[in-house]
Symmetry: C2
Subunit: 410 residues, 2 copies
């Protein structure tokens, strides 16, 4: 491990981590109906055209368009009705010149017909005869074969994050199973002699583990499987053993490190010894969250998060979440949700680092305002009482009341 | 059922539906670690103060602040070091006048001490003596008892949508189980003689069911449990029987209605007969999605969605999703994700209705642009190839190229 680490801006730090990571997602086949928020393992092409037949998009009459040319209110075209298109079956008749067939939305165009006249621009002349009061163009009110998607076309690329409509599109083409990337298993280990599990009564000097639960939620949202592996004391050998064993059964490891300098140094030494190349980034220009460790151990990402709950969530959001998507081969992670709002108070900041400040969103005169929830980064409730975090970019020295800021929703 | 329905703007339609719905969420107790995206059933108060003891927020020395008053580089204060605060235990000593104790971040302040001097502004004078080079104020670098949250304070209100930090906050106070609203069971029924299940080979004139899968995804995202109850033909009695049986085992019912007028009328009649008061809204001023039915049957919401896949998703987004949150008693549903973007093309629209147009987001010169994916509302792939939908508000007649629009992400 080099002796000296430069504190990096978060985007550069992530890029450096990614430079050392070439995750190869593993495929698994699951029911399409269960594939929401999963990531496609490979590109999927349409095995057939959709629709597979010309379909009416309106209630009306299937006709040959030229038969309606010139038709108007005062000079209607007269067509003979030869039948009604059954839903869900091929019509058992043809539409010839000067003929029409009653058709419903979604019905299959009979042979011979090339367009549909909306019912609203027709009227009954006599039994089996209609007047068409307006001309239609060829193809009008018809969804042509392959107009939704053509046979052989790429429906979804590899590495595509699956949304509700994607599952619908897959179903339309008969995909009831789909190959997705396996969910990465991310082990979580909390450290600190003062930390006890949430189910334990905290004695004098003790605090319950917050980060293993909150960061687990962030990992799960990104599609990972969090594996909570408990708490280790501030001891090099114990931490090393626990980290090795957790990493062996997982695809990634997140250590929520103690917050004192001595403990952080121990964590960095342990992380660096887990595998090659070891620590990539030690320290990021983010407040809160500076004492962050990003590492790669024999192909697996390892994160040393600051111990403070707010810092841990900020750093997990910036580094762990994008990595979990990347481990699924995801090329199009969902857009990180944020809103623009005006600041209710001045915020001081320091150029050269990105500041995150918990804030509540309030509406004033129909406008969105961000009201900072001031607090220390060891106060989890500043984030519980907030809707998100104001992001103060690297290159500014603070933001004034009334200025527009980005609020990352948490 | 009244004979005539006015087509309502979507917000008014939803308000009318909600006027007839007083859902009473049912509680269930689940592990806090599994409660992400669930909704609190009742308000939760802090059973104890957090932190439970004064904690150091820095590495340094616990002192009595007055002992440092006036201290400077040139005139340091000399303090005797009486010990080191152990992590996770109460310090077994007191800090008296002119004394200090080594303390780590997160350590418990010893009795007598009221503040922490950062290690950086101290230096060792001799064995067991330090020089303090800068004064601290009382309480400086200390997180006081209850400063994160005070005993008895409301941690989370009832009807709160649970995020990662909320699970962290609950864990900090020892809540390993939490009472949340039961997930509403929403039955889905597709109708249409032409519709076949996704696993079936579609014959001539047939199409596979898309809506039961895509809308199920939307329901699941909102916290509901979708129950896919198959496909019914265009027959009043069959639809009535299927709808009654589906509604009996569920908390809500979504019918993806056929798209032809005759089938829609059958659906409306069936829905109206399911219970009191029956159909509340028939027709909304939304494109696509006009032929929407909103109903309440003996306290359970019933939705008649248009059959077209894009329309069905738009209407589910506008009405089903907010209702599923409401059924969980959710007062703070997650903000509907949308972005502002500039339009790449003119879009025509009709004042008096809200238009939704599928669009892809592209970045040009660092700015976000929305590029409409033109297509018919029966083309599911317009939404698959889109990132979201441009919303053209009710009161405008169209939007010009370069104008900023809201894009609801789908």
């Amino acid at each position: 491990m080099p002796e000296f680490f430069t504190v990096l801006p978060p985007d550069e730090a992530l890029a450096q981590l990614f430079d050392h990571l070439s995750p190869t997602p593993h495929p698994e086949s699951i029911p399409t109906a269960d594939a929401l928020d999963r990531v496609t393992f490979e590109a999927i092409h349409a095995p057939a055209s959709l629709p597979a037949f010309d379909r009416s998009t309106m209630d009306g009459y299937a006709v040959r368009a030229p038969d309606t040319f010139g038709a108007s209110q005062s000079l209607p075209a007269y067509l003979t009705v030869v039948g009604e298109v059954p839903m869900g079956r091929a019509p058992p008749f043809e539409v010839k010149a000067a003929q029409a067939a009653l058709i419903h939305t979604g019905g299959m165009l009979p042979p011979g017909a090339d367009s549909v006249v909306m019912i609203e621009v027709t009227q009954k002349a006599r039994e089996n005869e209609i007047e068409v009061l307006k001309a239609v163009a060829v193809g009008e009110n018809v969804l042509k074969v392959g107009e939704d998607i053509a046979e052989g076309a790429e429906m979804l690329p590899a590495g595509h994050w699956l949304r509700a409509q994607d599952l619908g599109g897959l179903s339309a083409l008969g995909f009831t199973q789909i190959k997705v990337a396996r969910r990465p298993r991310v082990a979580l280990l909390a450290t600190g002699d003062e930390v006890v599990p949430p189910e334990v009564e905290a004695g004098p000097g003790q605090v319950r583990d917050v980060n293993s639960v909150s960061v687990a939620g962030q990992i799960a949202r990104a599609g990972g499987i969090p594996l909570r592996r408990g708490i280790v004391g501030d001891d090099f050998d114990a931490l090393k053993a626990a980290a090795e064993s957790a990493l062996a059964e997982a695809d990634a490891l997140v250590l929520s490190a103690g917050s004192s300098v001595s403990v952080r140094d121990v964590t960095a030494d342990v992380v660096d010894g887990l595998g090659k190349p070891g620590v990539i980034v030690h320290g990021v220009a983010v407040k809160p969250g500076k004492p962050t460790i990003l590492a790669v151990a024999d192909g697996k990402p390892v994160f040393g998060l600051p111990g403070n709950p707010v810092s841990a969530m900020v750093i997990a959001d910036l580094f762990v979440v994008p990595t979990v998507y990347r481990m699924q081969g995801c090329q199009t992670p969902p857009l990180r949700q944020s809103v623009k709002a005006k600041l209710t108070h001045n915020i001081a900041s320091q150029a050269g680092r990105v500041d995150f400040i918990p804030a509540r969103l309030v509406t004033r005169d129909g406008e969105l305002w961000a009201e900072p929830v001031f607090g220390k980064s060891n106060q989890i409730f500043t984030l519980v009482f907030a809707d998100g975090m104001v992001v103060v970019p690297r290159d500014v020295n603070g933001v004034s009341e009334g200025e527009a800021v980005e609020v990352r929703l948490f």
